[in-house]
Amino acid sequence: MGKTDVWQGTLALMVLKTLEAMGPQHGYGIARRIEQTSGGLLSLNYGTLYPALVKLEQEGYIAGEWGVSNNNRKARFYKLTRAGRRQVAKEAEAWGQATAILARFLQPEEQP
């Protein structure tokens, strides 16, 4: 099975969820984590991650701050804000519902 591109509109949720799970992370770290979480099934163009990050930051869900990484390199670390935490919960629930509904359509119909 080949790698899939990230679906439209899902990257933001993946980023938020990653930050919720791992705490403050820099851009490269978030990208690697998303790939790892997908079990290598998603191919993420790292360049598209930054516009998503700036959008989330503008909306106030995450906040960026310069710091030093484990590699002893300067990096911009992103962390979830309180609004971000609420948004993760909200979107996760919405996605859960959406996938559950879709799953019903895709399952073979039960015979009476």
Binding site: H26, G27, Y28, G29, R32, N45, Y46, G47, T48, Y50, P51, V54, K55, E57, Q58, E59, G60, S69, N71, R73, K74, A75, R76, A83
Partner: protein, 869 residues
Amino acid sequence: MRRLRAGLVRLTNVFRRDRLDRELAAEMESHLQHHIDDNLRAGMSPEEARRHALRALGGIEQAKEQYRHRRGLPLLEAFLADVRFACRMLWKQPAFMLSAVSMLTVGLALTAATYTLFNGLFVRGWAVPDSDQVFRVEASRRVQPAAGTISDGLSLGAYRHIRAHAATSEYVGYWFDNMRIRADRTAEPTYTQTAVVSDNFVSALRIPLQQGATPPTTGDASPAVVISHGIWQRVFGGDSQVVGRVAWVNDVAVTIAGVMAAGFEGLGGRQIEVMVPLAVVRQLSRRPGALERLDDERQCCVWVAGRLRDGRTQQQARAELETLTAQYRHSVRQPELSVRLSGTTQAETIRDLESVVTVLALASAGIMLVFLLTCTNVGNLFLARSLSRRGEIAVRLSLGATRTRIVQQLVVEGLVLASIAGVAAFLATMAVPPLFRLIDDEEAIAALFRADWRVAAFTSVVVILTCLIVSLAPALHTSRIAWRGAGAGVPPATGRLRHGILAAQIALATVLVLSATLLTRGIERALATPADFALQTTTAAILQSPPGRPWDAAAARQTRAALAAAARTSEVPTGLAGLSPIGESGLSVGRTRVREPQSEALFEAQVVPVAEAAPQILGLRLAAGRWPSTDPAALEAVVNRTLAENVWGDGNALGKQLTIGFANDRIYTVVGVAGDAHLTAFDHVAPVVHIAPLSLPVLVARTARDVDAQLTRLVASVDPELIVTVVPLSQPFEQTLEQARAGAAVAAGLGAIAVALAIVGVFSVFAYLVEERRQEIGVRLALGASRRHVGLAILHATRSAVGGGLLVGLGLAVAAGITLRGFLFGLSPVDPVSYAIAAMMLVVSAVVAMAVPVRRALRVAPVIALRAE
């Protein structure tokens, strides 16, 4: 909410680009290094590690571009980049920028000034808080022969009745007067515009005070007044302890109770420098009329205004007012009183609104034409300029810029120019009121021209319109040519648009020049018409009672009788008349209304009191009957033919009866009919009624060497304390003439601007035309064509534009002339002399504008012209 927040962040990011770019570069570099570190750990060689990391990022520049797109507002950023580029381009061509900006400034400033006037007249109400809750109350009376009604104030009795019984609104009463104020007894007096106001005036209208309070209402204490910020500065030197201080108003000691706030200048164009409570006016006023008003409940007029109480509507106030008026009318048997609510804009207070509107409309039309002329001129400059840049534009198009992008860039250049001109025009508009104050201390006009936020908003809209008019068509045109002919060397086909602009310029200039010539000639003609009465040969002595002397009706009657007796026995024939104070126009003491005692129909009339030798000295002719008796108690009147025909149709007025003004119980008998004369204005005969002078008269005598001394002596023999001012009778007329002259000057000014703009416009069209055909001219001259021939060929190329423009312009000019008929004072709208003068001006201008560039081109040696390619 989140979106709004994101939008705001993006907006601020537009202005933090440099810092954010540096941070982005650092973040990208950090991302790459982390990835390279990982790759190295995975066993790649350094080169391979870097290559792999770059590939995964999708290219650094692409990634940055995506990021920037999301970070700020790309459209705004492109616009700002265009603005910066436009500024650079314009800076490189200072001559183009200066000429375009100066022309646009003229057009925009005229337009903005016109709107300022419109705003001051029709839009802006009184400068008090919540002015939409404030309204004026006017008595409206139907007056013949004018079809409409005239409006004025209410009698004091009516005002008191309404104020006492109204529940929906709080009513205030006021009138205007002039009083002298001084800071101490010995100081030079300052003459002020004074408002006599009811006790609740300040609190009900919420007039802003910067210190002090409303004057106390009781009349027995020392009178207290409120002064304006200007008087506080000028008369009291900005004294911070002014409240409570004693000053002198009309030589009576008063206490300063408060100072109005700096921004408050008055109500509806009437300046208020001092506010005197109605309760104390008896102690201060020296004007007999003002006191009669206080004594007679039915005397007119006190101005009335109201402010709606919380939660009440204008409809409720109107209904209540109608009821209260009906009650009052019934109780005093004043049948003609009907009141209406009106707004607080200046237009509502203008009696002759229709003619003001006509003049304003005509002036606006003229200014609109000048504005269009500036736009076509600048549009033409734009076209020439963008065509000269078609190489640059072609290169940008071939590099992948879209046509929209090019058009946007060119339009932004227009916007930059128009904005600079707009700011200059707004500043010029703001300079108008100080200018009026400087020239003639014309506070009322200055207030009318005050620029506010509405003027700023209007100017902004016009700036955007101007930008579109001057730059859109040339931009579309140029980008199309450059796009079609990019690199292919196709010559531009710009003839039609340029010829269109040329034709429009010529048409507009023709209309403006012809209208200005017609107006100027019409007014000159009216001014040159000799007066049909002894205007130039009469001298008037205007009398004032001495300061401090209280007004006394009986004493005034006695003085008047003594003056009449002295005039009768004087060596020099002397008459008594009633003239308006110096500075007001005409002979009349006031517009009033007359009617037959039993009739409801009111007729407009001007009262011109005359007695003793006055009719002979003034050169008034009598058509029938005799002049009225000198004794006002005889109640005799003489009407002029116009008034007689207005009231009695057949003009047979002898022996008929009429009442004048509001004194319904004083019934005058018509004892004579006078011939019509231009007594009150030089352009029309007003309906006039002559009666014996009622108040302190004006003495008139035939102008001679010693007449000043003789009149002064005569007055001194009656009452040595009276103040005498001797002036030629023509002086009060000067102001009317000045207004007409100002009208002619405005028309001539607009005409001159139009000619100048047309010369510049035609010049630039020809300069460009010649420049473009330089090579062709060179070839023709090299092949032996005569210079005259080549010159004619160039002119020939524009014949249809010039001819078409002239034809359209003439057609419009005839239409304009017919519209202007009312202002031509009998001059024909197709007056041949005016047409000849205008034609000459246009031809001379056209020759100047065309000849210079053509001659310049013809002087160029053929070889040089050919080498240029």
